[in-house]
Symmetry: D2
Subunit: 260 residues, 4 copies
């Protein structure tokens, strides 16, 4: 069965900046969704900030196995109620892939519990993303590094809890960054992936697209739904089980440990 | 130099429930602070919900190395601005010890990013806390387990990210719980410690008091202050360093004298 | 495509102990393999200590996606060369499921780097395994706990590095144990699962069998093979890429950071 | 009380290579010990491969709080019995700091359980070590990065289990590396620190020396000794405790006064 992905895009730069519009004429979210839909095992649709409930209704999220998130200038416009809804779905098992400037998105900061801050510089320098674990599912089919000729720089310290490191970036100007990191939150898998500044054609890059597809496969839930992650039930103690006698009992047991 | 601790108490049950008042006539927070002050290396004071800014002003937090937190019925009355202030101090390096029903405190949920939910039962059953790492600083001086004759039960699943497990509880009624777990958030250390239901004399227990003192020593910052954890500076690339010539260089392609 | 599993059994108790023989007349390994083969997505075969190379030839391991390991009295008879071979396969991506007394198997101790020691008692007491993450793939389809009426007790401290906790056991006699824990080593996933003392019919239990099948699905590699995990190549620096000019470059870049 | 450090050096290159001898005329180990002894809170002595039991007798280790390890060409000459002895001491609580080419030392591979492999190049290029957590004790007093004008390059993938990342290196030639990582093994803390190729004066660098001193303070045990980490005792169940009646009990089904 196909993995159902919702590609969320802030969709603001595309309408205000001619460079961005020229690179992503139908929006960054559409470019990403198209890249995912090249995989027969993935069915991706899009949702954007300007839609009712930012396109992330209960119904949409209930049918979403993996959510990808790109935001930048409008983090503050995302309603807290929607952020809580997305968080709950992650705890239930939905995968979440946070992209680039989404490091400061409310949903990412909420799931990490930390600042998610970093250094940055925007001079279109070269980035080289090194694979830290060639056997990791998210690195499948990639060379030992991915080169992006022009990207924004993000530098350490990156204010995140330690996770599983999949990629580390080298920047021409002298910095490094943990560019691909995974965590588990409740039943959900979370992946942060650094590249994707809006004024560069990063999401048109074939290797970056491969990472996105790999990450969707990795993040898709394979366990059961954790239906009520926030539930705090008052429970009875477990029923006493009528035990079969221990067929091997001898000396040492002397009637067993005799609990209660 | 003495470790400066602020013991935060919700201080509500003590004024409404005769049992709690009889066990903790001067408040649970005072009992905890007294236990900490028996250690010559610790200087503990208290702060409570009803004080201005909940007793957690910028000035108080700036002078706090470790904050302990007990809350229960009034989590919702803790102001979000104070929660953010405490979170920032943790990211800067302040230690945080979250106690018992504090699992649902805003500050703990914010730092964890998860539900922090659990099962519970209140029948005064026996709890046995097992030490999972006898060499851990928080377990220093303890026997292999701590027995509490009457406690509330908390049961798994506990909705937390995986951390370092120091204690796991066994309950008479049949459940288990990760009762002592540590995490790092920014420069700050966080420890959750389960026991301490208000209607039982748990914080008068000598071994529980030992855990609290140990945890304060463990959580106290030993690194530098991370002054601006939320800062996201736009930076220049590092200056070129004038390198001394490599005394061993044999040409860029020779690759040196051979490694292994 | 079916997941290829090799079920490794020490196969010693079955030939020396009448109780074990009566419970597992064709060997514990056969019982486990049969349980796995009930899943159409799994193809399990067995290998035992007494076979040449313990049944774990290069050819067998090359065709093994997941290896399960049960050993007890003959850990010392497993040849170091075979242990190294298995370790290399795990680092390359093969999943490994270590069962019960396999906690002291050479391969487990080698992958953990710690003592893997624990307390134990054999009086046939009741064990209750609690699920710590209801959405974890290994817990799929299980109730909130699994009850085994008669089992050997294993108690904390368990000398392992912290991992992802999936199950914690409660024992009738008063102890607790991290009974299901996962780790990653190289490209391989490792799962330790506690139950399975040879004198009890644990591997005939339907829920235990479900855990084993779930664990196989979880541990099966989904990434690429990490072909030479031990390789330490002497490399040239990456080739200079001819960069396209940054279309957005202006003032600040002044020709870019100009590295080299 | 002063932290007792044993600085272990292979001490082979110093006697065979004129460059190394000129940089470290009394041995790399002596240079490191001198740097540590500048800290009034540290008392460092040295031990070398050529000494009886490699200078790491039971008596020496019993008096060692933190062991530092530099080896390269003679890893294979370190006796397995000594490696086991060191491992046991780490599990008991001794800190271990593994330096540079010590990544392939038997003791490091044993504690990690993985390949510990990496890429390398020796052309004397520039290395820049970035601090990933400015509040970490090991980064105390450091600038945001440390620059080494000439060093050997180590590149990802580094075959280690994920740990806590303190430093990541940028190399002039285009690679990155997790240059400072911490783990816990039993009661012991382990820190790997990358720089220190024998033909460069790295251990004379003031900032590198500061890292070494910081790391000693961080790695020194603060908990109790885990006396017998390999013990696997057969135990009785815990004694029944005579419980005081629950003063709040209202019958097993009443469930107490209500929780949340």
């Amino acid at each position: 069965m196909s993995i159902r992905v919702t590609v969320w895009g802030e969709n603001v730069h595309e309408h205000k900046n001619a460079t961005v519009k020229s690179i992503y004429p139908t929006g960054m979210h559409t470019c990403i969704a198209d890249a995912l839909n090249h995989d027969a095992g993935i069915t991706a649709r899009t949702a954007t900030l300007d839609q009712p409930e930012h396109g992330l209704t209960e119904a949409v999220l209930a049918e979403t196995d993996v959510l990808t998130w790109w935001g930048h200038v409008a983090h503050g416009k995302v309603e807290d109620a929607i952020v809580e809804r997305v968080q709950t779905r992650v705890l239930q098992g939905m995968g979440l892939i946070v992209l680039h400037s989404g490091h400061f998105a409310k949903i990412f900061k909420r799931l990490m519990g930390t600042s998610c801050a970093l250094k940055w510089r925007e001079v279109g320098e070269r980035e080289r993303l090194w694979v830290c674990n060639p056997g990791h599912p998210i690195a499948k089919g990639l060379p030992e590094n991915i080169v992006l000729n022009n990207e924004e720089m993000y530098g350490e310290p990156f204010g995140i809890p330690d996770g599983e490191t999949v990629f580390i970036s080298w920047f021409e100007g002298g910095e490094v960054f943990r560019s691909g990191v995974t965590w588990t939150r409740g039943a959900g898998k979370v992946f942060y992936f650094r590249p994707g500044h809006e004024t560069y054609p990063t999401y048109h890059n074939a290797e970056i697209q491969q990472v996105l597809r790999n990450a969707v496969h990795w993040a898709a839930p394979t366990g059961a739904l954790w239906a009520k992650p926030h539930g705090a039930p008052n429970i009875k103690h477990p029923p006493e089980v009528i035990r079969t006698p221990d067929p091997n009992a001898k000396g040492d047991t002397a009637g067993g440990p005799g609990h209660k």
